[in-house]
């Protein structure tokens, strides 16, 4: 991957994706070979929005590469609460770290951050925009279970505000994948995402119910219908509880259906699914470590190459 930053999944070619996933597999097979590879480097964790697992996942991945992390902490206790702009904040933090991981409630925040700094920026979620590192671990999980071609993938839930969905749908267009989008009418994929999908000539279909397509699917990617993304609580309550699956629902599915979820789940996947062979969401979450290690390794390697310095192996 010859990229300086990871901002959106749309920037990634098939080769970019496969290079990171190949490296993730190497990392998973032989993590000791990657320990201390970037000793002395520092990664800044800049989370302007609450996050537990993404923050911990990057923190853990960094430390397994020998990278130290500095954490901005909660927004309430930082200079952001004093009204500092994001542009200024990242310019300051750039001086403390060799790369930034950014989560922010506004769409486009990572693009703006990348314009203001010269170290690599990883978008760890920008509002209802993109979450491309999640997509890389999603693709790794799909690849390990099915490969990435000749696939039929169903993506269900909150497709309008779900940034993991926006990134995943874009990345899947690089592969031979039929995509089915299953959501209530009010939560269909947004115009901007549909525009990109159509531009690539991707095979997509949209449905309001899972049942008619369930038996065609190799992968069912379920997302939480997120209360905090709704301007109107009534709209949330109206659709909440729909699009819930349990073990009985999945009796109609193919035996090797892989059920994924970016987590956290609330009640959209019943606990009894955990006991089935379909459940892959915990494996998926664990894949965050080798994939984010591979990603950080790649971006730091690219940055070092840009500086003209040799990486000490």
């Amino acid at each position: 991957m010859r990229q300086d930053h990871l901002i959106t999944a749309t920037q990634l070619s098939r080769d970019d994706i496969e290079a990171v996933l190949d490296r993730a597999r190497e990392v998973a097979d032989d993590p000791a070979a990657y320990a201390d590879r970037h000793a002395g480097r520092v990664l800044a964790l800049c989370f302007f929005e609450p996050s537990t697992r993404t923050r911990m996942s990057f923190d853990s991945a960094a430390k397994r590469l020998g990278i130290d992390t500095v954490d901005m902490g909660d927004v309430d206790s930082s200079s952001v609460s004093k009204g500092e702009s994001l542009s200024d904040t990242v310019r300051v933090i750039e001086g403390y770290a060799d790369a930034l991981v950014l989560r922010h409630p506004s769409e486009g925040a990572a693009t703006l951050a990348a314009e203001n700094v010269s170290v690599p920026v990883v978008n760890a979620g920008d509002g209802a925009g993109q979450h491309p590192s999640q997509t890389l671990l999603d693709l790794h999980t799909i690849r390990e279970n099915h490969g990435l071609d000749d696939l039929t993938v169903g993506i269900m839930g909150d497709l309008k505000y779900g940034r993991t969905v926006h990134s995943l749908a874009a990345a899947l267009t690089e592969f031979d994948v039929n995509q089915h989008f299953i959501s209530p009418e009010s939560l269909r994929i947004p115009r901007s995402v549909r525009f990109d999908l159509h531009e690539t000539g991707a095979q997509i279909r949209e449905h309001e119910e899972l049942e008619p397509v369930l038996d065609e699917l190799d992968v069912l990617y379920v997302t939480r219908i997120q209360k905090e993304r709704f301007p109107d609580e009534n709209e949330y309550h109206r659709v909440a509880g729909e699009y819930r699956i349990d073990a009985e629902t999945l009796e109609a599915a193919a035996d090797d259906l892989t059920v994924m979820h970016p987590l956290p789940r609330v009640d959209e996947i019943a606990p009894d699914v955990d006991e089935t062979d379909h459940a892959t969401y915990f494996e998926q979450a664990h894949n965050g470590i080798p994939v984010r290690m591979a990603l950080l390794d790649t971006l730091l390697e690219n940055a070092e190459a840009d500086e003209g310095t040799e990486v000490d192996r």
Partner: protein, 152 residues
């Protein structure tokens, strides 16, 4: 003398922006950053009869020749506009507007949650796509309602 020339007189030197869609003349001036403070003579004709458009607006700016890149951004709200450069009462150059690849600092993003609407020190930037423009930051696509988002 034709009807619209009675309303808006000829200029000696400057630029005449003709065949602007009716009602868009003030937006044209806004996009070009012309508010009269520079001291140039500015004449505006609105909703004058036109064979081609039915009703059209005309903008005449004296003592100022607009460059192609300045006027290309007008293609977003006035795709039929013609740009006449006038010297000594004669039209010496007549151009159509062409669609630019991108537009910087002219439009505001309609997505309230876009980082460009968050008091950051940043100009908006839109890519021009097939039937509209697209925010470079949040990817929101703006189509028919472009004129409502002019922010200059």
């Amino acid at each position: 003398m034709s009807d619209h020339e009675l309303r808006v007189s000829k200029i000696r030197d400057g630029t005449v922006i003709d065949h602007v869609e009716g009602g868009q003349a003030l937006n044209v001036l806004a996009i070009l950053g012309i508010d009269g403070s520079e001291g140039h003579g500015v004449s505006v004709g609105m909703n004058v009869p036109s064979d081609r458009l039915g009703r059209k607006d005309i903008v005449k700016v004296e003592e100022r020749e607009l460059s192609q890149s300045e006027v290309d951004v007008l293609s977003l709200i006035a795709p039929e506009a013609t740009i006449n450069i006038v010297r000594d009462f004669e039209v010496v150059e007549k151009n159509r507007v062409t669609r630019p690849d991108s537009v910087t600092g002219v439009l505001s993003c309609p997505n309230r949650n876009c980082i460009t609407n968050a008091d950051e020190p940043v100009d908006t930037r839109f890519d021009v796509v097939a039937d509209g423009v697209r925010c470079d930051y949040c990817s929101t696509i703006l189509r028919a309602d472009i004129a409502e988002h002019i922010d200059v």
